[in-house]
């Protein structure tokens, strides 16, 4: 594996369509969404990542930081020799707002839940794009990102990811007993890199 890098990313553009989709906003007028966006402060955009070699072993995959026999991941990583493992978080700001409005305004809680999810996804997209450009130049193409909990890849892999990327220290991410991340608007994923045919 390469050493873990931790970076801050510039605020990605808001994807209003996604926020509306997550919140079942439909055609409601924008006033609620706008007032929530105005209230949103203190979001950070941070990612820790490293590159790992993967090898087939005992019918599964040795990812250097963990072994998995997930068939879905194997399909996803077909033809890949290396992966990028990353953890990304937008921090506690959405969680604080969700906790607050869960108690006093479920409508706003719903919105901050949606906005937080959109922020985290947009952060992943921005990171993905950065990596894509980097690997493209090196002659690699990226596979779609794949997270613990998708298909047959167990959520418990989060423990390995937290350890190897030192997420607690680098990003402030903590796992609870059910392997859920706090801040809740955090994402971990594996991106396969495949050598382009020349």
């Amino acid at each position: 594996m390469t050493p873990v890098r931790t970076i801050s990313i510039e605020e990605p553009k808001f994807n209003i369509k996604e926020i509306k989709r997550y919140s079942h906003y439909g055609e409601a007028d924008d006033s609620l969404l706008d007032s929530c966006l105005e209230e949103l402060k203190g979001i950070t955009y941070r990612v820790s990542y490293a590159e790992f070699d993967i090898t087939e072993k005992d019918g599964g995959l040795d990812l250097e930081f963990a072994f998995t026999d997930s068939k879905n991941l194997q399909t996803n990583l077909k033809n890949c020799e290396k992966i990028i493992l990353f953890a990304a978080t937008v921090g506690f700001a959405p969680d604080r707002l969700i906790e607050k409005y869960n108690r006093i305004s479920p409508a706003k809680a719903l919105m901050f839940q949606a906005i937080g999810s959109e922020r985290a996804e947009s952060l992943c997209d921005a990171f993905n794009e950065m990596i894509r450009a980097e690997y493209d130049a090196k002659g690699y193409k990226l596979h779609p990102r794949f997270s613990p909990g998708y298909g047959d890849l167990p959520i418990t892999m989060q423990r390995d990811i937290m350890r190897v990327l030192d997420c607690r220290k680098n990003l402030g991410i903590i796992l609870n007993e059910n392997c859920l991340m706090m801040p809740s608007k955090s994402v971990t994923a594996i991106i396969g890199t495949e050598k382009k045919e020349s």
Binding site: M1, T2, P3, V4, R5, T6, S23, H24, Y25, G26, E27, A28, L32, L33, G42, T44, F65, G91, F92, D95, R96, I98, E99, K100, Y101, N102, R103, I104, S105, P106, A107, A109, L110, M111, Q113, I155, R163, V164, R168, G172, I174, N176, E177, N178, L180, M182
Partner: protein
């Protein structure tokens, strides 16, 4: 010499990093460093000794990751003993001439505390207590709590050390580049809270290099009255030739530290990336820098976990609305544990400009001890203002103060011996600024001199407990002028003397002055201004009173405390716009329309207006229920959407609040169907469940919400206890569906006549059927429709 004595007159050199050195010695990636304490003691002793040899006065055990969640009691004790023994052996082996102590290192538990996380505060204290006891048993000279990035967890750790040992304790936090902890906490807050709880030294470590930490350390030096410590990383990490390296070398590190030592840092060391070389270089530089004496700063500061109030920035407004005295609606809310109403009052007062919120829950039929802790905790989850915990019951005070996140305002102590002996030890242990009332066993003196004499006695007694005068705020007691026309003069006379001659901050419950008189707000506003002129620092007041806010803003304007007059201008603008808005709602919208459009304030205002001429029940029947019905139908027909449905429900709730207040709480108008709802065990998602609850309540169901991550037994027992007709369960994750199934199974076994409805992202009609639920609720409206079948059944 004890470490505490050494700390009094000496600069203290700590140790440096351990992790990198262990990796060099062959510690494989992914193995926790503390495992090596037992398996490779020789490597640990070598590193510890190298730090003593480099000049460290105190070397910390390699126990950062050791905690009670990872080990059983006996394992923990052994683990701690081995780690302590390694440092002791290193000390024996080192021939270095300086004083050498053994410190026990405490790090984060790696779990997040409630309300954001799932770890209860007391469980955190308990977990820390286990290691503290083990370390005391193993024999150490001091504790170091370090790299903490959550204010609340820091409090739990410090409390555990204080409760289980008399040894000195240093507390160090890890700040991010924005100058705050991950919990959003700034240095001002940590200094106030940690000093208040009696930390022997405080400061910062990790996360950044000495250069980046400088502004944060300077803040500590400016505010702290105890020794300040600084233990930076060797700069910032970067990747070079496939390896992580830090960008500041030993000499540069020492050079940067020189500046901080000159500014007054008493305790220094290194964190990630530093080695004995860094310590040696810094020690060499430090010997030429004289130790600066520490000044006592006399700050009067209270905090939440993210905001602080410094009383030198007076006048401070303390919102009085969360106090049931004379407030029917709040009494009812407390009796019914209607927390939403109370939280609404908290948020609204903050919006109106309160800086601190008084929290008093003393009412008949209320368990004050439970309620004060519960309410203040819930308020801290929605509102970031510091709180004034207001109770005359020392037991209730202790419980709430203990769990409070930050440094609270304690309301109150008075001149009675018994009272001082009950309250001062609490303030000493948990920290806090205390409101002191100038009354004693003989009552309230009717002269200013009498009240001043009591104030002096209180100060003397506080000093015996080690409480400085800056942590006492005097309330010279506002009495009504309708009983004694000289009353205000006496109050203000004492106030002026205490502020000017005793140098203490002051507070008054301003509105008492007009008790028994007509148009009280006029007199209150004027009295507030006069009191400010006589040295008032803080007022317990109603932030909704325009006259009071008028006094506040105009006094600041005229006394050069309002830069560019912006505060005053903002106040006048908002006062005018509120008036216009009120007029508009009155003329334009009906209550039904306000609910349909989801306008909370207008719905409440309109209800209030209707209550003047109509019966509460007819308003419900003719306006609110029809509005809810049309909203429900529109949602089902996809004419409106989820956010709108919710906003309408919230507007209806605010209308119901007004109705409840008018009905005096005597008669809860429900439809007789009792429903218990919960998010199942293991699942912490509760937005969906809260939406369902809100809607069900709107439709008149009697809903008991057990919260999230609820054990199957708790759900079943509650349903049986209440004789509920329906249990509603929510789960958002596939992994928690089994817990849902288990709950339903247990319910069928113990209480088969109860129906179940389930919902949540992962559920489907088929899955609901498979796990044995009576029904599947696709959304909140469907749940309402299902529950309606049980009315009059």
């Amino acid at each position: 010499m004890t470490f505490r004595d050494f700390l009094k007159n000496n600069r203290v050199c700590l140790d440096g990093g351990t992790g990198t050195l262990l990796q060099k010695a062959g510690l494989p990636a992914g193995v926790s460093t503390e495992e090596w304490n037992k398996t490779h003691p020789e490597e640990l002793i070598k590193i510890h000794k190298a730090y003593y040899d480099a000049g460290s006065n105190i070397v910390m055990t390699n126990t950062f990751g050791v905690n009670a969640f990872k080990y059983s009691d006996s394992e923990l004790e052994e683990c701690v003993a081995v780690a302590v023994s390694n440092v002791k052996q290193a000390r024996e082996l080192s021939a270095a001439p300086q004083e050498k102590f053994v410190g026990y290192d405490i790090g984060s538990l790696g779990r997040l505390l409630a309300p954001l996380g799932d770890l209860d505060f007391e469980d955190a204290v308990k977990a820390y207590s286990s290691v503290v006891k083990a370390a005391v048993k193993a024999g150490v000279d001091a504790f170091m709590i370090e790299t903490m990035n959550d204010c609340y967890e820091t409090k739990a750790a410090l409390l555990a050390v204080k409760e289980n040992s008399d040894l000195p304790v240093m507390v160090s936090n890890a700040y991010s580049e924005d100058g705050r902890l991950l919990s959003g906490t700034c240095p001002e807050i940590m200094v106030a809270m940690l000093e208040g709880m009696g930390a022997d030294a405080i400061g910062v470590n990790c996360s950044l290099g000495p250069k980046q930490l400088k502004p944060i350390v300077e803040k500590y030096l400016e505010l702290a009255s105890v020794p300040v410590l600084c233990k930076p990383n060797a700069g910032l990490p970067r990747v070079e030739d496939g390896k992580t390296v830090f960008d500041v070398g030993p000499e540069e590190f020492a050079e940067e530290m020189k500046d901080l030592l000159n500014k007054g840092v008493c305790i220094f060391g290194g964190c990630c990336g530093t080695t004995p070389e860094y310590i040696k270089e810094t020690v060499a530089i430090s010997t030429n820098i004289p130790l600066k004496p520490i000044e006592i700063k006399h700050k009067t500061v209270i905090t939440s976990s993210t905001k602080f109030v410094d009383f030198d920035d007076y006048p401070i407004l303390i919102g009085e609305r969360i106090n049931p005295t004379g407030k029917k609606r709040l009494k009812q809310a407390l009796a019914e544990k209607d927390i939403n109403y109370i939280l609404g009052e908290a948020v609204n007062q903050q919006e109106k400009g309160a800086h601190v919120l008084d929290v008093n829950v003393g009412a008949l039929e209320v368990d004050e001890t439970e309620m004060l802790t519960y309410v203040s905790g819930e308020i801290q989850a929605v509102c970031d203002l510091p709180l004034q915990l207001d109770t005359s019951d020392p037991v209730a005070m202790e419980k709430a103060l203990r769990r409070y996140n930050g440094k609270a305002l304690i309301n109150s102590v008075n001149g009675k011996e018994e009272n001082m002996d009950a309250i001062f030890p609490l303030a000493k242990k948990y920290g806090g600024v205390i409101i002191a009332l100038t009354l004693d066993e003989n009552g309230i003196p009717d002269t200013a001199e009498g009240r001043i004499a009591i104030a002096k006695r209180i100060l003397a007694r506080a000093a015996e407990y080690g409480i400085e005068k800056n942590d006492i705020i005097f309330d010279t007691l506002t009495m009504t002028v309708s009983a004694d026309t000289n009353a205000a003069n006496v109050t203000l006379g004492a106030l002026k003397y205490i502020r000017e001659q005793l140098g203490c901050h002051t507070s008054l419950g301003v509105s008492n002055v007009s008790f028994g008189l007509p148009e009280r707000s006029r007199a209150n506003g004027a009295f507030f201004t006069i009191a400010l002129e006589n040295g008032l620092s803080a007022a317990i007041m109603n932030p909704f009173s325009e006259e009071m806010m008028n006094s506040y803003y105009t006094w600041k304007l005229l006394r050069n405390k309002d830069a560019n007059c912006l505060g005053y201008i903002g106040f006048t603008e908002s006062a005018t716009s509120t008036k216009t808005a009120t007029i508009q709602t009155q003329s334009e919208l009906t209550l039904k329309e306000a609910v349909e459009k989801g306008l909370k304030e207008q719905a409440a205002g309109k209800t209030k207006e209707l209550l003047k001429s109509a019966e509460p029940l007819s308003i419900v029947q003719e306006e609110i229920i029809p509005a809810l019905n049309s909203v429900g139908v529109n949602f089902e027909n996809k004419k409106i959407f989820l956010p709108q449905l919710l906003m309408s429900a919230e507007a209806a709730s605010s209308a119901f609040d007004e109705i409840k207040a008018a009905m005096d709480g005597s008669d809860k108008q429900g439809n007789g169907v009792k429903i218990v709802i919960a998010t199942v065990k293991g699942d912490i998602h509760d937005i969906g469940k809260n939406i369902v609850k809100l809607l069900l309540e709107n439709y008149g169901f009697d809903v008991t919400d057990l919260g999230r991550d609820v054990e199957p037994e708790s759900v079943v027992n509650k349903a049986i206890e209440l004789n509920a007709q329906i249990v509603g369960l929510s789960a958002l994750m596939t992994t928690t569906v089994p817990a849902m199934e288990e709950t339903i199974k247990l319910l069928k076994e113990k209480y088969p006549e109860c129906a179940t409805i389930v919902g949540g992202a992962v559920l489907t009609e088929e899955l609901a059927e498979r796990i044995g639920a009576t029904a599947y609720g696709k959304d909140a409206m469907e749940t309402v429709r299902f529950a309606e079948k049980y009315i009059n059944n």
